[in-house]
């Protein structure tokens, strides 16, 4: 989990200035506008400026507002909320109240949302069956398993599901994703 103060230090000066002003405004008004105000430049391997700013806007927001911002967000906003759940200062006060967001993202067919949903927050809060289904969905949707947090949660039942998936692919003469192999031989 990334702490908010470290994320804020990554921001360019202009973005930090906008963020300071935006914090005085209603979340529902500033959250959709953030990307066109601060830009979408990459700040490092994990964050873009707009995603970082949006995550920081969610620090201290009540759960109902976080859920609403996700509910009424476009794809980029939804993605930003999911990323924000990897920021300790956003995720911890929410406890399990953001779980419906993760569950919604898992129901979509947008691989970006699915992948972003499977961060540390999902590891901590998703029930075991939902977690197994989520990981299997990644395999099914060609999302690399390297993006999935929570590998310690892989259990025998998930390995069985993956083995069955691999068998189905083999029977169809189709390729088995390379990163599935590691799971099929996992000692856990």
């Amino acid at each position: 989990m990334t702490p908010a103060d470290i994320l804020e230090e990554l921001l360019p000066g202009a973005a930090r200035t906008w963020l300071t002003e935006a914090r005085q405004q209603p979340l529902a008004a500033v959250f959709p506008a953030a990307a066109r105000k601060v830009g979408r430049d990459r700040l490092g391997p994990a964050w873009t400026t707009d995603q970082a700013v949006r995550a920081l806007l969610l620090v201290g927001a009540p759960a109902t507002e976080v859920v609403d911002v996700y509910r009424y967000g476009d794809a980029a906003e939804k993605l930003a909320v999911l990323h924000a759940l990897s920021v300790a200062d956003v995720a911890e006060p929410l406890q399990d109240k953001a779980l419906p967001i993760v569950e919604d993202a898992m129901r979509t067919n947008d691989q970006r949302l699915v992948a972003a949903a499977l961060g540390p927050y999902a590891t901590q809060h998703l029930p075991q069956h939902a977690f197994r289904q989520a990981v299997l969905k990644c395999v099914f949707a060609n999302i690399p398993l390297a993006v999935v947090d929570g590998l310690p949660r892989v259990d025998q039942e998930l390995i069985r599901m993956m083995s069955d998936f691999a068998a189905e692919r083999s029977a169809a003469g189709r390729e088995i994703p390379a990163d599935l192999e590691a799971y099929l031989t996992s000692p856990s």
């Binding site: 990307a35 476009d74 691989q111 992948a115 690399p144 390297a146 993006v147």
Partner: protein
């Protein structure tokens, strides 16, 4: 030939259409919110539709390297159904989104008092959100509907360069040309306009302030009519630069007035198909 289709309803189209469009040079498009074949009866249906226009459909388009933007509005036909009127209340939420580059389709269907009111309210929203407007002209009583449309636009005080009046033909083009509004033409297999008639209009009115679209939807229509019009222009002696102006630079200029058009990076990415799979995924 690079093509920006300024009006196409991709929600109704297949992935084969996306592939064919990309193969014929379509790199960007705008999908206006409009009616579906089946009338809607509740605000919830609109909300899910709008969410698709700013979520799922741009994702689908991106897989073919096509930039997808949309316009949002309560369309004139459904404005007549009191069950749909509450849609006006959710519009501000959507007009604030990055992918929304205009208010539309607004305008007239049957020219009722309800349509008058909903049209005016939405022209005010366009001013408030500093967005251009896409105006549909009616299929029935088109000439009278176009005249009334231009009157309403003028009364609203919106600058004409922020308005495109769409689905024009030989009868309605002159009045719109004179008004200073942008002129939109939908090129269809049978109805509306065809590529050769479009060429004649371009010869008469020039290539400025003109948008050519396929308006392809759930009816008999063809997402490659923009390309066919480009070919017809070349065959009639227009230059490559003329074609580029009509099929690319004009829509960029019109929708660019929203300050929200994002045409960078039209190559497929972030869909886990290529090598960018891990980019920005795991904080």
């Amino acid at each position: 030939m690079r093509i920006f289709d300024p009006h196409i309803h991709m929600t109704s189209r297949t992935t084969d259409d996306y592939a064919a469009m990309a193969a014929h040079g379509v790199q960007a498009l705008v999908e206006p919110a409009f009616w579906l074949g089946q009338p809607r009866t509740s605000v919830g249906s609109f909300v899910d539709y709008f969410d698709a226009l700013i979520g799922w459909e741009p994702f689908r388009a991106a897989q073919y390297g096509i930039k997808h933007h949309c316009t949002i509005a309560l369309n004139p036909k459904e404005a007549n159904d009191p069950r749909c009127r509450e849609v006006l209340e959710v519009l501000p939420r959507y007009l604030a989104k990055d992918g929304v580059v205009a208010v539309g389709e607004v305008g007239y269907d049957s020219m009722t008092p309800e349509e008058d009111e909903v049209f005016s309210v939405q022209l005010e929203l366009a001013k408030q959100f500093e967005l251009p407007v896409l105006v549909h002209t009616p299929h029935r009583d088109k000439a009278a509907g176009t005249t009334r449309t231009l009157d309403v636009v003028k009364e609203s005080g919106l600058a004409p360069n922020l308005v495109v009046v769409d689905h024009l033909n030989e009868v309605t083009v002159k009045e719109v040309a004179d008004s200073g509004c942008w002129m939109g033409f939908s090129i269809y297999p049978d109805t509306k306009m065809d590529p050769d008639r479009m060429v004649v209009i371009l010869q008469q009115f020039g290539t400025e302030r003109i948008l050519v679209n396929s308006a392809a939807d759930w009816g008999k229509s063809d997402p490659l009519r923009t390309y066919a019009t480009g070919q017809a222009m070349l065959a009639a002696g227009f230059t490559d630069d003329d074609v580029d102006q009509v099929l690319w630079r004009n829509p960029v200029a019109f929708y660019g007035q929203s300050q929200r058009l994002d045409l960078e990076d039209t190559t497929p990415e972030d869909t886990f198909e290529g090598n960018s799979i891990l980019r920005g995924i795991k904080p």
